[in-house]
Symmetry: C2
Subunit: 108 residues, 2 copies
Amino acid sequence: MEHLSWSRLEKTVARAAFDAALAREVAAIRAEAEAILERSADPDAVWRVHDFLTDRRRAIERKYDYRYSVLISVFGRLLHEGWIGEAELAGLAPEKLALIRRSAEVSR
Amino acid sequence: MEHLSWSRLEKTVARAAFDAALAREVAAIRAEAEAILERSADPDAVWRVHDFLTDRRRAIERKYDYRYSVLISVFGRLLHEGWIGEAELAGLAPEKLALIRRSAEVSR
């Protein structure tokens, strides 16, 4: 994917989709942390929250890599996992969209 | 403090006081984690919770050391910080209580 060039418009579209996916996933992580606390009044549940957040934070840092050389597969995964919809990628060249869709299928 | 011997009764008293202090401190940590989330609806607040818990968990692991060789200074600190009251140490030998009080003062 390193040979692909990204136009200014494509970069804007990509950045917005990337940021929206990240915001959604962080919101979901927050909701799950709150749910862990709601499910148990045990003070020690706070350590389960800590373990959960440690794990999710590492995963987020690995997954959300905005380098253009890896962005196709990042979007493929986000599409597969449902953190972005195809409509948010409108504006990318058809070639890139096809590669992202294929990458999403490979993620299965 | 390594020369002190602990009777069976003293060990029971010490263990109960130690466990009660730990339970109180963990409950306070949980309450503060919940307060961080309540103060901010921003999803990213969950990372502040994570940083806070990482810090507090390390501190708890360092502080709550039940080895008899260090227990006097552990209780001194817990007394100084208010996680135990003197009444909870009733049953310990007067020599130990005096050492714990002195340790609490040194903690200041």
